[in-house]
Subunit: 304 residues, 5 copies
Amino acid sequence: MLLKKNIPLKYVFGKIRFEIMLVAVYSLTINILYYQYDVTNLVIPIAVPMVLGTVLSLLLAFRSNQAYDRWWEARSIWGAIVNDSRSLTRQVLSLMDATYQSEDLTLFQERFVKRQAAWCYSLGQSLRKTDPLKGVDRLLTRRELNYLMKYDNVPAALLLLHGKDLKYALEQGWINQYQQIALDETLSRLCDAMGKCERIKNTVFPATYSLYTHFTLIFFILLLPFALIDVLGFMEIPLVVAIASSFLLIEKMAINLQDPFESKPTDTPVTTISRNIEKDLRQMLHEQYHAPEEAEEKPAYYVL
Amino acid sequence: MLLKKNIPLKYVFGKIRFEIMLVAVYSLTINILYYQYDVTNLVIPIAVPMVLGTVLSLLLAFRSNQAYDRWWEARSIWGAIVNDSRSLTRQVLSLMDATYQSEDLTLFQERFVKRQAAWCYSLGQSLRKTDPLKGVDRLLTRRELNYLMKYDNVPAALLLLHGKDLKYALEQGWINQYQQIALDETLSRLCDAMGKCERIKNTVFPATYSLYTHFTLIFFILLLPFALIDVLGFMEIPLVVAIASSFLLIEKMAINLQDPFESKPTDTPVTTISRNIEKDLRQMLHEQYHAPEEAEEKPAYYVL
Amino acid sequence: MLLKKNIPLKYVFGKIRFEIMLVAVYSLTINILYYQYDVTNLVIPIAVPMVLGTVLSLLLAFRSNQAYDRWWEARSIWGAIVNDSRSLTRQVLSLMDATYQSEDLTLFQERFVKRQAAWCYSLGQSLRKTDPLKGVDRLLTRRELNYLMKYDNVPAALLLLHGKDLKYALEQGWINQYQQIALDETLSRLCDAMGKCERIKNTVFPATYSLYTHFTLIFFILLLPFALIDVLGFMEIPLVVAIASSFLLIEKMAINLQDPFESKPTDTPVTTISRNIEKDLRQMLHEQYHAPEEAEEKPAYYVL
Amino acid sequence: MLLKKNIPLKYVFGKIRFEIMLVAVYSLTINILYYQYDVTNLVIPIAVPMVLGTVLSLLLAFRSNQAYDRWWEARSIWGAIVNDSRSLTRQVLSLMDATYQSEDLTLFQERFVKRQAAWCYSLGQSLRKTDPLKGVDRLLTRRELNYLMKYDNVPAALLLLHGKDLKYALEQGWINQYQQIALDETLSRLCDAMGKCERIKNTVFPATYSLYTHFTLIFFILLLPFALIDVLGFMEIPLVVAIASSFLLIEKMAINLQDPFESKPTDTPVTTISRNIEKDLRQMLHEQYHAPEEAEEKPAYYVL
Amino acid sequence: MLLKKNIPLKYVFGKIRFEIMLVAVYSLTINILYYQYDVTNLVIPIAVPMVLGTVLSLLLAFRSNQAYDRWWEARSIWGAIVNDSRSLTRQVLSLMDATYQSEDLTLFQERFVKRQAAWCYSLGQSLRKTDPLKGVDRLLTRRELNYLMKYDNVPAALLLLHGKDLKYALEQGWINQYQQIALDETLSRLCDAMGKCERIKNTVFPATYSLYTHFTLIFFILLLPFALIDVLGFMEIPLVVAIASSFLLIEKMAINLQDPFESKPTDTPVTTISRNIEKDLRQMLHEQYHAPEEAEEKPAYYVL
């Protein structure tokens, strides 16, 4: 799903191209001032950036940890969505029973399972702030689509339709009271997963933390040439650029990971996961499935 | 919900304005003593603040981690409140059934769902130590309001009303015994979320930790000029101020995050979340909802 | 519940008074040996304590983390006890039903809820190794008190009484079979909370860890004067004392946090929490409650 | 299951043989340039690699933590599979009941339990991308094998068969409605475990993190000779090689741990676990079991 | 249960006696080479061991964390076993009911509860690879002992007997169908606990990690004398020994904690916990209990 290979160096450094150039110009300027204009009282002991480097390392480690946790939590939630979608389908197919397997029940089961696939797509799309129903209409009946018109939150409305259908199945005698509760618990778990995704999407990483880390990083880079210029001469420029790149890349990476639903290449692959769910659910329904050929979600390479 | 942009520098540094000035004055004094009055036997090797810097970095990393965890736990609890409110509403709407959808049941469902919205508001407000019923009366009946008078803990009383209504619904035959238990489990989860919020609100971060970290930080800043003055001369002053700012900002940030229910800009946005819950629940009831225009909770910018 | 303000400096440093004096005397001795008796071949490079300082910082960070986790887990367990006590009361009041609300049932409910409050007090007191029934008799009937005589573990016996009462209620027809199971699950959660408290109480923090950390810390302090004496002269004494204090205070704090049920000021406030639970439960029973005025648990200030 | 002893040194260093040689050649070249061709203006202060060493240590610690967590999570999931397989078998044997223990029921139970063993094997094999049914046919009936043909995801299909059999057992009166739900919940837990394994298998560790860590590590090694050459002369070469090895080995180890389903020696031992499960389940069925002698999974030594 | 006091220094250092002597001899040799034979070109800058010290500190911190987590998880699992044993007993005593409390039921309950105590002992003993039935026969009937003969995994077989007894109780009408499911869920939790213990027991800590950490530590100690000899002369020997001891002790401690079921003094006290469980369960049965006086598990002191 995510390709490990083929991350061009250009891509990696492209992200900090601008910052690298700035740092190069900056350390060149210091160098010229120092050697051409003899502004030599600017030297500071290297121990100063070392103290800053320690606190910066810990800040970046903290940052990376929290960003990774957000990313991994997002991925785990979608893993739980896969599991609960399969369990729901298994329950719909194996708990429900008519005295004779009536055609009505078969249609009902098919509608229910397709609606579950639709729920996954629409959740993924509403997290990315695109039309939650785009491309999903093929999985829903006209009546369901009309019903959804009245709601802002399409996935929540689909779960409500699930709930109403369970009530209908109870009235028809296809499920008993315990089975209704068991299926309803699976719906509650799906509702939980939906809310957790929204929580991650809507809660920004504490901006003050990002900002202070960034300030400390800039301050550290600004000091670096003064600590090295004295000993290294012109060699200072590539060294400063390389050290700055190391730190800047780590910060960039944390920023990329911390928002896992933002349509970036490092995103949680919600559409791919949804498509796999649809395929699995259809196989459980004994339907042949041809994945819709949508090129839109296939960038040249994934970085994550 | 929370704005990323537009955090003015003034705001960021405003928080440590006072401390920065003190540090500047302090290092200036040292400088004058050293160069004007030749009190030059005060120099200490820079390795001493480096050792302190390492332990301080670890203390601040520890502090930041725990503060972030408290903040994220608070946010997760409110995420769970969103989920369970929706699940409760779905259950009330799709599990309850009269032989014919009687008007009584419809009214009952509406009252129940509105009470759930009221619960969210009143929980948020009692966490912030404001009147838990302010602005909530529009969601409750007169009778319910009278009942709540007798209680200190309004949200707990609302859950008790939920429980009593479930008993009533069982007596009316709208739900069966299993459905009552299933709905009661959702109430228990809400009761859990309420208690967890209170736990975070009422448990202060170990004061000794805060204090010791603060002492170590002050001690580190006090030593800094003695370690730098010798090499840097007057350049020492801006350097000391900048390094002190880095550390002070990180401490400030942890202090801000660690109490997520204190009506600060970095707070958990309980009112906004409650309003979203109300909107969702009303849509599920097929009601049109116009959010009350309350300007009070809209500061110029959120920092978090 | 816990006061943030008013931690006198005397209290903070009082805890390490003895150690501070020892360190002062020790570094003074070194100083005298060095300058008076010219024992000058004792100087060691400052890099040696720096390496030790790094490993020590990590050991203390590890220690602080685990101690904080124990403390926070203890607090969370008591938070869960609050939640489950409320849920149990709500279930007892709203699930139980007589064909007409008989007086017997009302008395039964009151006895049940008061016994739950008694359970909280007796658990807190047995964790602190005081008489679990002290002051609790006002919440229990004579018959229950007789029953408890036969048990070492009073809280476990109270849960057994809860269970027996549920069986009685089933026989009386006040609850049905599902409701019995639902209530029994709440009892199992309370039983879990009790066992978790006992686990934290009975499991000491690995003594080897504490010991090795302490040894490394002492060794670090012993080396410090030799590394500083050469450069700093008499200024070495206050510096060594201050650095040693930083490290000693952090260790002290971890030791305080790691045993949260030891009747120290940094303890989990089990009696206060129990009193709040009693108040809440009584309000749910519509009883007026006057807290017993027990001065014993009100020290001049809490440090945590 | 995993041997601690007998990890030959050759194996340990064999993994970084190539890198070690490169480093040796590189530092030799620097040495020759310095001493033979007097390119002596290349010296950099050792503080520069020290700052990089700190950030690198933190990156590697972060990396190790996340890799260990993935590995341990994978192991825990398979632990849960063991537990739920046993619980499922216990439930099948002790919950199901015919008015008289009919032969049909006995056959049904045996088929069910063997299918559970087959599920474990097929899950392990499909995680390793080998034929999920290889060697599993001895545990399944011809009819089941035919049914599985239609599915891509064999383990999911086996769970569906479990579900269908529960429905059949309900129709036969061997289980009641509650027992069906209780067994179905166990199936949902197994479905969860399956999905969690797939999540770990399909989610690569963020490639950018791996890459940036690797870049920083290379950069650190490249700088090392310049910092040491001046003081150490030819002794620099073994030192650089040894330090580089320490860091490279830690990175290698994290890479090995982070993908726990890749048929490497450090893998989660899915086949061994499955075989143990089969043995346990057969004993519960009172069957004598002779493990199939498959030599394929017995390498000379396990490294993990 | 675990004694904090009285860990003799001899014990602490006894564990690394051999390593300490080696280090002393080694640094003495270096010293002699340096001062007697003037092999003085061996000096390396102290910054080199400092870099290694940082990475080593982080490796040891990682190691300590994971080892502590394993130990604490093991302790928590046994805590859960205590809780579930009590809950199971409460359920057996308070859920089961005969129309009149028949003697058969009383005997059945007693057999059931004693079997639960036997389960705890046998689990503890099979984790320590001793005879799982040793000393347990007094808690089981002859018939049960015969049944267990056929099983390798005795605790799993005891849970199966629990399950069969529940079926028997259902047939006798002592429990209803919901109660059977509720009790079976408790059995599933016990089965989970058992499997988790086996997972910790059977999964070795990644051997590569242990090995690399050990290599880095040895390399660090080997370098130490070269960095200190120049400045310190003969004082180098005690310093190197002391620093090496600090690091070696931390490694030792992690190794001790990471395998919590290995009959070491730092073990999880499974026999003591089992004995406490038996005492509690017997009191719940209103039986007087005299603990069997087994001296075998009482060493002179516990270290953990």
